[in-house]
Amino acid sequence: MSADIQVKASEVAVASPPREAASAGHGGGTLNAAAVIAQRELCSLFYLPIAYVVGFIFLLLTGYYFVSETLVPGNEASMRVLFERMAGVLVFALPLLTMRSIADEFSSGAIETLMTAPVSDVSVVVGKFFGALLFYGCLLVATLPHLFLLGRYAPTMVGSTVFTGYVGMILLGGLFLSIGIFASSCTRHQLLAAVIAMAILAVFTFVVDYGAEYGRQMWQREVCAYLNVFGHFADFSKGILDSKSIIFFVSGSVFFLFLATKVMESRRWR
């Protein structure tokens, strides 16, 4: 091997290729870089065992709830219950999908090669987010067979509730993933990132749910009710497209992605 290489080395030394137009790379815009990173993120998720574990568990539980709660004679013939169960599973599943996204860049040191290319912090975070969102989209596509199965037995099922339900699933997933990416930007340890993300998600789901019911003062209950992710999600699964809820999810996602950008910047600069 080594001898072989040395022969080649001497060839190279003789036939040094002519220098091309000075400095080829022009550096793409933020969007271009984000798209490139999203693409890589998606590909690497398909390589990683953890993504398959998450997919397996998510689909297994979805299937289980579908069979045990929806596909039961006499039960409501809609996807509503299933969507709400899926949302519950996502609290634990999605942090596992995003835990390595930025944490791993820091622990492997690859953040250094990444951030010394002409790429902004925003495009890294946005790219990571959309990569994960696309993978999550694939998981959602894999739940479509339930829908067709249900359609066979419940021809009266309303199509629009299914549509809004999936829109809600995407928005909810987006918020969860952005929280996961924010958590992943805070630490170099993947597991810690997952735990942080789950903790934040638990606050916005289970804790505020409790607070909305048992809060001492009216305003406490109101704030908790507003922050309840599942409360906003319930609209979608019932077939309502409420702009308030859409704004809640989108602004929440943007907020956490913004935080992730700032955290990443400050960690690099310390």
């Binding site: 080649k8 190279v12 400095s23 793409g28 951030m115 010394t116 290319a117």
Partner: protein, 314 residues
Amino acid sequence: MIEVKNLTKSYGPVLAVDNISFKVEAGEIVGFLGPNGAGKSTTLRILTCYQPATRGTARVAGFDVFTQSMEVRRRIGYLPEGNPLYPEMRVREYLNFRGKLRGMDRSEREAGIKRVSDRCWLGDFIDRPIGQLSKGMRQRVGLADALLHDPDVVVLDEPTVGLDPNQIRETRRLITDLAKRHTIILSSHILPEVEAVCERMIIIAGGRIRASGSISQIRDRIKGASRLIAEIRGPKQEIESAISSLNGVRRVEGRAVDGWNRLHIDGVEGQDVREEISSLCARKNWGLRELRLEVGSLEEFFTQITAEAATATA
């Protein structure tokens, strides 16, 4: 090509880089030499826009690393310490990804990958996953990435760390080859490496520049400390007094070694008394079996200044 002025970087209370200034001209190949933790990596990270400096400025190709960061990043190829790569990607895939990140279009990427795979000898494993490669191969992939966009400046942080001697030789040859087309800064804590590859070195310790100049300039600086070693057979007292009376000898120190007198002779700077000593021995009929000039090695010099730095900061 690179201009660093009064650069300071502190991590909280710890001063990693302390007010350093230097210049690198286009086409130069400069070695950053210093013990671990001297501030080499920090300086390189500032130059490559990974971290901002606490104080001071640095310009690469005329662009400020802080205010014109994107311009600088477009012109720099960087191989960080430890050479992090994505193990799940194939080499070609990785280089393609890096090219896209740099906004190179398809034909630029193809030409670039072809060029660097020839230069860095990636041909045999360009379609293998990076996770399966040996450390030497990965190092070549890292170098290839740094060269992909044909940057003006190449920054290599500890490029040969962890390689076996053959790979070290290959990598050094590759770097000297690159010098024809790029300005290169490389860091190392191994002196012979810098000596072998670089035209100029900057010795840094404790966050400060301790010495800088061409290899021969630095050699000149340590010549003053030269001394002679001689082994002469004969009456000890007489030999010592005869030699110390020679013009150009400052001090003689001797001890007996199996019937011979082993002498350490400190000379005056710029004077070589070896000829006088040999003719003196011939005249007096003393046996002479060794006579050599001991030039302080760069290694010693390096140890000495880094030790000074350590005591200064302690």
